[in-house]
Amino acid sequence: MAMVRIRPRRRSATVLAVLSALLFLVPRTEAIPEKEYQVKAAFLFNFAQFVQWPDSLFPDKDSPLVVGILGEDPFDSYLDEVVRGEKVNGRPIEVVRYRSVGQVKNCHILYIGASEERRVAEVLKALGGRQVLTVGESDLFPRKGGMVSMVNRQGRIRLSVNLQAIKSSELGVSSKLLQLAEIVPPEGG
């Protein structure tokens, strides 16, 4: 059963099969993302370039770098178009949609959208100590243990990071990215 939503273009062209499979897929939202989400899609693409994952996280040397979207997808096909044809260290970038955190398997960047915001703590707990760059979009997200948040401040997107969460994941996050971000102390800390 196809629970993971891959890009439509990779689906079989057989319309009937697609229609029946669609019943199990995450519904789409808007056809054109708001500009905010165009910019956030570009940030996600940038994160792929500014973060280093150990090779052990990729099945082989041509395996794609996976950008996961958990819950409602505000990007529509825009994110797919941004990463189309792009490579990071020789790896293509693939966008995968997940309905629940249980489906998140081989994923490098996980966007935890507004629809999952209330469950952030559970989601992060379910991810355990896996080396996934977790990306949210509220001020609360890094305080709750998320790594990077793309926050809308007076109409511009600002990055807010939880340095401790990044350090404990042992991901190599470029200092360039950290310089541009606001550093948020974790809750209670």
Partner: protein
Amino acid sequence: LLQIRKNSDEGAAPPDWRRIIPFFLAAALIPSAGPAHAQDRQGSITPDEIKQMTLEELMEIEVTLVSRQPERISDAASAIQVITAEDIRRSGAVTLPEALRLASNLQVARVDARQWAITARGLNQTLANKLLVMIDGRTVYTPLYAGVFWDVQHIILDNIERIEVVSGPGGTLWGTNAVNGVINIVTKEAARTQGLFLEGGAGTLLKGFASARYGGSIGGRGHYRVYGQRMDHYSSDLPGGGDARDAWEMIRGGMRSDWGLGDYGTLTVQGDIQAGEVEQPAPAPGPVEVNGQFLQARWSLDMDGGSHIQAKAYFDRTWRDIPGTFQEDLRTWDFDFSHRIPLGGRNILTWGTGYRYMQDDVENGTALAFLPARKDLQLVSAFLQDEIILVPDRIRLAVGSKFEHNDYSEFEVMPSARLSWTPTPSHTIWSSLSRAVRSPSRIDVEFFVPTPPVPDTFQRLEGGPGFDSEKLTAFDLGYRVMPWKILSLSLAGFAHRYDDLRILEQADSTRFRFVNGAEGEVYGLELSGHLQAAPWWRLRGGYTFLYTDIREMPGLDEFTQPGSQGNDPGYQLLVQSYLELPWRIEINGAARLVDELPDPTVPAYFALDLGAAWRHRGLEVTLTGKNLTNRRHPEFGPDPGRKEIPRSVRGRVAWRW
């Protein structure tokens, strides 16, 4: 919705009223000048552009309120308004003319259930003939009267990416008919309409509609969508109430596919077929029947050094049978090519050429006739424009001309010069001087009433042998400003000088004919704006003022019908409001105030539309009330005989997978 979502990071945060009240005050003060819209709220950036940006650049992008920075000087130095997909969705519109009401620089009047009189900058008629309308580059006017049959321009509105409405001439780039304005309807790329989309609805004036669309991909390089729609409308009202018997229905199906050809550019192939039927009141012997088909291919290629070429070809057929009046079968073949070349950093040269062949075949009745019944028309054109960057990022000038040859008035030249000055990124002052022509159409030259032969004692219209083009010289001056991030305003003033406008001349006691016999001026102001009053409240709209002075040229034995040059309101005001409430509820409203039309008199009217929408995941439920403030009102046409538009309610459910 998205802004609400941000607001509700910590649950649905209630609005902070102390911060909001000043916005109410501001909004209350602005309408006297015309609140409103400015440019494209979406301000889309292409994926290719955005991924080139640095993190710093991304952080500088304004995401909540955006003025679409026009890329072409023809946009920068013209009175352009953009209706976004979001504006259309919010308005609850399901037909194209309803969506066009969202551009405050257009005069849109619903004549009856299925006819609209639409123009920019005045001279409006049911057979308005000075507006160029294109859907994905395909011209949709008929050479019969150089206007648009709006009833067959049906399109699933969810397929529309944006509608660009330019008031003022666009002849230099677009050619004949782009006299008072250009409407350019751009549909979404197939990649943007992937998956399944279903919508349906019903109402009291709009009887019912249902659309289905499916988008998929082929081999990773191409995307497609296929779609179909059926729409049924009830009749409009007679003045005292009662059925005007003009109910109609349309059914349409089509497809679009976009292909990436790698180094060989991109290819778009699209086509539609449609058919419909319109009830006619007695004594007409039967309903009007229409059908049409088109197929279009468009290929474009970006080359090294920033040059861009595009080639387009289409075939379009429309057929219309008005029993007892006439039947028309029109086939159009159109080819065009354009090339944009940056030269030396300071110049961008654009040139192009086009050829159109139209085969118009009319079956005449006894009441009126187009003679000859069958006419083949050719249109050959070429244009050249240079955009010159006089001061980088500050002053740009575009000069160019279109050269065209048609079968009636032969050679036409449509030059223009446009200058834009951007002293700071939030201010643009622009001006243009241009010439445009409305070349003769069949109705001007070959129209006979009643159908010959006619006894000499009968009054009759005998075409317009020797009818020449109607000409416009236009001066525009405009100013666009974003005084604060939440407000953008655009003001355009214009002076139009018309020569050789069409009038009906009385040749002797019984014979009438069309001649180029009127001239005059139209002056106007178009103010539009956009206000983000609060993160959850947005206003857009505009105010248009028109002053028309058209008169017969001296020395003519004239006979002019009332309203023959058009019938325009002195002013019109549009305010649209989008309000976001918690729990994904939207309250959307649109109010229009349209001044009296002078000749024939149509009373001023105020119309209020209100809608509520609830969105959850792919589901959207909308309830819209239209013309709520009056039971029925006329918008166009002489009394008696004209139709009125009743108050109506409609519901719509849409679902996306």
